[in-house]
């Protein structure tokens, strides 16, 4: 009965009219990415994506660290929804996989415990005099990019192919745990057969690699990372993933969660410092891109405007393979004038031109 199962994991994604909420980590570590995504959606594809500047963090990080009680996070989520209701939208577009998981969880809880929903309405009313409606559709930005992959690919001047050899680039994907492991029906392909990233990469002509530890956690794990004593545990988990993908010599790691994007990128540096090992053949590390970064690059956006200089593993080798032309000198020239060059790692190879 496999087809039925697959049907369960197909997701309805509305074509237009979204209320957008941002991701804390993406904002902080990859600030260009969200701007690029909004620019693509609004200007390249002409969608109506509304953003209310009054929205806040979903408190997901604190929630997963057991720092925020359930009532608080429910009220915060309710406030976001009230902003959406106030703006007249019914489709919520979430930029962060953890936030996405939080929204799914709260909606699920309210569905099974209507009294909690009532309590939340009351708490929100008492604290802010606001009321809210539940969203009709809850969509992660990777869902939307996946949904729009064909129009994006049609507009794209590039393909995920080595320009000099015409070899399809090998892509390993990492779908964040909270995307579909908690609520498999909430994402494309569920937890077992995640297709949200692989479908995107294949549309661009890349070759997907189903490596053994594909479904393993990136190692973030919130409280595991956030307490320094536990950080080795986080790192060990990331290492399992890298060891597993190493044999396939991937050209690119594709992620949909900003947290995963950061960990799979930054931990390559840390592991290289600790063990002297990198997981590519040239010692430069495996480039990591999130779905919207990939879409923006494919659509010909400038890498440095996109903020790719914020990545630890340098992306120039990948850009060269795809054949994206970039201004090497522009990489570190910021709005406020040229910044000083970052320090050089002792193992991971980088080049500053």
């Amino acid at each position: 009965m496999t087809p039925l199962l697959w049907k369960d994991y197909q997701k309805e994604v509305p074509d237009n009219h979204y209320f957008f909420v941002r991701s804390c980590i993406r904002q902080t570590f990859f600030p260009g990415a969200e701007a690029a995504l909004l620019d693509i959606l609004r200007n390249s594809l002409g969608l109506d994506v509304f953003e209310d500047r009054r929205h806040t963090t979903c408190t997901g990080i604190a929630y997963h660290c057991d720092l925020v009680p359930l009532e608080t996070i429910m009220t915060v989520i309710a406030r976001q929804l009230s902003l959406m209701t106030e703006a007249g939208y019914r489709h919520l577009l979430v930029s962060c996989v953890t936030s996405f998981g939080i929204y799914l969880e709260m909606l699920d809880m309210w569905q099974h415990h209507p009294e909690m929903l009532e309590q939340t309405r009351e708490a929100l009313w008492k604290s802010t005099r606001r009321s809210f409606e539940l969203p009709v559709a809850l969509v992660h930005t990777s869902d939307l990019v996946y949904h729009l992959r064909k129009p994006i690919a049609d507009r794209s001047p590039h393909r995920l192919v080595d320009k000099s050899t015409q070899r399809a680039l090998r892509v390993v994907d990492h779908v964040g745990c909270h995307y579909a492991k908690i609520f498999p029906a909430g994402g494309f392909g569920g937890a077992e057969f995640p297709s949200v990233l692989s479908g995107l990469a294949e549309t661009f002509g890349g070759e997907m690699v189903d490596y053994p530890e594909r479904r393993h956690c990136c190692g973030f794990g919130f409280r595991h990372y956030l307490l320094q004593e536990n950080r080795g545990y986080s790192l060990s988990n990331s290492r399992i993933k890298f060891e597993s993908m190493e044999a396939f010599a991937p050209d690119l790691i594709l992620t949909n969660c900003p947290g995963c994007n950061m960990f799979l990128d930054r931990w390559q540096y840390t592991l290289a410092e600790m063990s002297g090992k990198t997981y590519d053949r040239e010692g430069k590390g495996i480039p990591v891109l999130s779905h919207e970064e990939l879409a923006a690059l494919m659509l010909g956006r400038d890498p440095w405007t996109l903020g790719l200089q914020m990545h630890q593993v340098q992306l120039e080798p990948l850009l060269d393979k795809i054949g994206i032309v970039y201004q090497a000198r522009q990489k570190y020239s910021m709005l406020a004038g040229a910044a000083s060059l970052p320090g050089e790692p002792s193992v991971l190879k980088v080049s500053f031109q």
Binding site: R231, E273, S346
Partner: protein
Amino acid sequence: MPKPDFGFAFAPNRALDLSAPLLPEVQVVLETEPSIRACMACGQCAAVCTAGAFTPLAFYRLVLQLRGGDVAAVGERARHCMLCGKCQMTCPRGVNIRNAVLLMAALAPPKP
């Protein structure tokens, strides 16, 4: 550039990689004392072990670890054995445990 101190470290991978070939030193042990292969991990050896009353020595676990390639740990642990032979007397599969332990103990790095 000196390596930074991160204040934490990664744990070695716990997964067994059975697709990797047996280490040559493990192969030597198994070929020199082929009866090790007859072990079915029933635990009789560990149950009667004289040293096992004081330290987590258990021959059947040494066999499992040896086959898993955890050579250094096997060698270190095998050195706790007193060679009294009680386990060999009761082993239902007739494993030459004393000889096996002597061979295993030689796998550990030499004593300083």
